[in-house]
């Protein structure tokens, strides 16, 4: 059974339909000692059902240390959003450098959907001035946004 109401599913299906790129959600998980991993998986499973452009790839945090390091994931549940640059085809996945730590429940689900749409090709909504500033960045910056599940 879906966590989403039928009307919400329809709306999301329509929105995802506008995506021009395939998006892959790398879900880092472990079976023991992770309270919200199962809940996260259940939430993520909603998305591929709504669009054939969205896929979820489960990554075992304990066994696939290299992949976790590649995406800078040091705890679970974690989601890394990747996308395929080439239209169609099996282009190499590109990292969006957008991560979610913890279950994307409640309002965070909306943030996750927004991130998927962005990776899927939707314009960012950033102003021209902001884009110029960001494109001029020459050193790494990590932004952690703390949220709560309401």
């Amino acid at each position: 059974m879906s966590l989403l109401a039928p009307a919400d599913q329809d709306k999301l299906r329509e929105t995802f339909n506008q995506m021009s790129r395939r998006v892959r959600l790398l879900f880092f998980t472990q079976s023991i000692g992770c309270e919200t991993c199962t809940e996260t998986r259940t939430i993520l499973d909603e998305l591929p059902a709504l669009s054939d452009k969205i896929a979820v790839e489960e990554v075992n945090f304990v066994l696939e240390k290299e992949k976790a390091a590649q995406y800078g994931v040091d705890r679970v549940p974690a989601i890394a959003i990747a996308y395929e640059d080439a239209a169609g085809g099996n282009g190499a996945a590109r990292d969006s450098r957008i991560r979610f730590l913890g279950a994307p429940a409640g309002y965070e689900f909306i943030s996750l959907v927004q991130a998927v749409l962005l990776a899927g090709g939707r314009p960012s909504g950033l102003s021209e001035a902001t884009r110029r500033k960001l494109e001029a960045l020459d050193r790494p910056l990590t932004m952690q946004v703390f949220t709560s599940p309401t």
């Binding site: 943030s111 949220t147 709560s148």
Partner: protein
């Protein structure tokens, strides 16, 4: 922002699930953004207009 600049990584952290992180960054209200650039850290409390938010975030690189 992460999507536009290859130098930016953006992480949404569910504060109640990771109390160690919430404690380390003294999160007492959300949203709270902690921007780390090189040697400096900048905190942004609450939501701001885009220009102000971006300028504060980028100040993590220029702060002395």
């Amino acid at each position: 922002m992460a999507f536009v600049s290859p130098n930016i990584t953006a992480i949404a952290v569910e504060a109640t699930e990771f109390p160690d992180l919430a404690r380390r960054y003294q999160v007492s209200g959300v949203p709270k953004t902690v921007v780390a650039g090189g040697d400096h850290e900048v905190e942004i409390l609450g939501a701001l207009p885009q220009d102000a938010y971006v300028d504060q975030a980028l100040s993590a690189l220029t702060k002395s």
